[in-house]
């Protein structure tokens, strides 16, 4: 894993998420693709187990830092970290190589991380109103539609192509 490239990628994604992503929305200005979620799935399915754990928690940290939930951090660190690790474990049993499967993985991860973050927010305070349609369907769906097409450029940047990973496993 090239950690310097990873840090630059996460930083750029966090900045884009809070700025230019506001231009890409459907139906509602709050429904936009989640770049950090897409990266979470990418690293969960392409990294070694230990690297996947680190990458998942760091992406959660970046998500909480760039777009804090009700003024405190933590819900997305934990939800991204836990579900990113689980997806990595799952990927070792079920291969997620094809675009539709990658899209489905992003969609499901979007739902479970949104629900988990919302539930964790209850530990600290009364969180923001939870829009099931927006956070559990539209946002993950938009991320799932765009995400798989970002895997190639991200893989090129991280020098982590799918074929290289398959070769390493064999």
């Amino acid at each position: 894993m090239r950690w310097l490239r990873f840090a630059v990628l996460v930083l750029v994604a966090a900045i884009l998420q809070t700025t230019f992503m506001d231009m890409i929305w459907i139906l509602d200005a709050n429904i936009k693709p989640d770049l950090l979620l897409i990266l979470l799935v990418f690293f969960a399915v392409r990294c070694d187990p230990t690297d996947a754990v680190i990458a998942s928690f760091v992406l959660g940290f970046a998500a909480d830092l760039a777009s804090p939930t009700a003024g405190f951090m933590g819900p997305r660190i934990i939800s991204f970290g836990v579900f990113g690790t689980l997806l990595n474990d799952l990927h070792n049993m079920i291969a997620i190589h094809r675009l539709p499967y990658q899209g489905a993985a992003i969609f499901l991860m979007g739902i479970v991380t949104a629900v988990a973050s919302h539930l964790l927010s209850y530990l600290r305070a009364d969180p923001a109103a939870f829009s099931i349609a927006r956070q559990c369907f539209w946002q993950p769906a938009l991320s799932a539609a765009i995400g798989p097409f970002l895997f190639s450029p991200v893989g090129w940047w991280m020098h982590m192509s799918e074929s290289r990973r398959r070769r390493r496993k064999h």
Binding site: I54, G71, M73, A128, A129
Partner: protein
């Protein structure tokens, strides 16, 4: 580095990170807020540039590069002019609402004290203009601004946008600050519904909306009625329009009281600058 991490098992690393996440979760918001402010300060340039581009893209039609027919160009110009006029109209409406509240207050003073203080209330305020670095939070209910402690900002100060009250300074660093909007679920602002002359506490509900619970009023609030933010520590003591009534219903627990749903009068998504009320002169 990877070799060093390789010595720690995946399970132990996962446990450490979960513990770290829990520490962050239960840390005081003041500490985590400092981290968020440091991030906003460190990357203020790309964040503010991105924000300006986003706002500009909302006010102009995508893809107009001079290749459209003349009629399309004229249409675009008219739409831009309409958008500018609508923004100006909204600003003037808020200004008018503020002035009406001040007039009413001044008339009450005349009646009660039989003397008139002719100092306009707005002149007693001192403002600090600030640019918006980013909009964050669930339901876009927080702002990062490019002014901080060095510019006289402090926690609790009211923040104005388009001449209406939009939120309160929640955390300050040396050169940046975080503003909690009135729609933030943690926001609690004392308010008065002008037409009912009833007071209450406005609680944010996200996505530009808020609720005033348990309002003692004889009649139902009508959609469009103005809601004014009342005195708060460090605030000069005059009402400033903050929201307008969307709907109202009787409180299910106590039918004598009302539950009023309101919407912020300022469209934060299109704001690029705000003003922070510093103190009385």
């Amino acid at each position: 580095m990877t070799r060093h991490w390789g010595k720690t098992s995946k399970r132990m690393m996962f446990t450490y990170f979960v513990l770290g996440g829990l520490i962050f979760l239960f840390s005081p918001p003041r500490l985590t807020g400092q981290l968020q402010l440091a991030y906003a300060r460190l990357f203020s340039w790309p964040l503010s540039v991105g924000r300006q581009v986003t706002v500009a893209s909302r006010t102009t039609e995508a893809g107009h590069l001079g290749d459209y027919p003349r009629s399309m160009d004229a249409h675009r110009q008219l739409q831009e002019r309409l958008a500018a006029l609508e923004a100006h109209h909204r600003k003037l409406q808020n200004h008018l609402a503020n002035r009406e509240a001040q007039l009413e207050q001044a008339q009450n003073r005349i009646d009660e004290l039989a003397r008139l203080r002719s100092i306009p209330e707005w002149d007693r305020m001192s403002f600090q203009q600030a640019g918006i670095i980013s909009v964050s939070g669930q339901g876009q209910s927080e702002l990062m601004i490019d002014r901080g402690q060095d510019d006289g900002l402090a926690v609790g100060q009211y923040v104005l946008g388009d001449l209406s009250m939009i939120g309160v300074v929640a955390a300050v660093a040396a050169q940046t600050a975080r503003v909690k909007l009135i729609s933030d679920p943690m926001s609690r602002v004392p308010v008065r519904v002008a037409e009912l002359d009833a007071r209450g506490v406005m609680e944010g509900r996200g996505a530009g909306t808020a609720v005033i619970s348990q309002v003692p009023a004889r009649r139902q609030a009508r959609p469009g009625d103005r809601v004014y933010a009342l005195n708060a520590p460090g605030f000069p003591g005059i009402p400033i329009v903050a929201a307008e009534v969307v709907d109202s219903q009787r409180d299910p627990d106590n039918p004598l009281l009302w539950r009023i749903q309101v919407r912020a009068v300022c469209d934060v998504a299109n704001l690029t600058r705000v003003a922070v009320v510093i103190s009385e002169r």
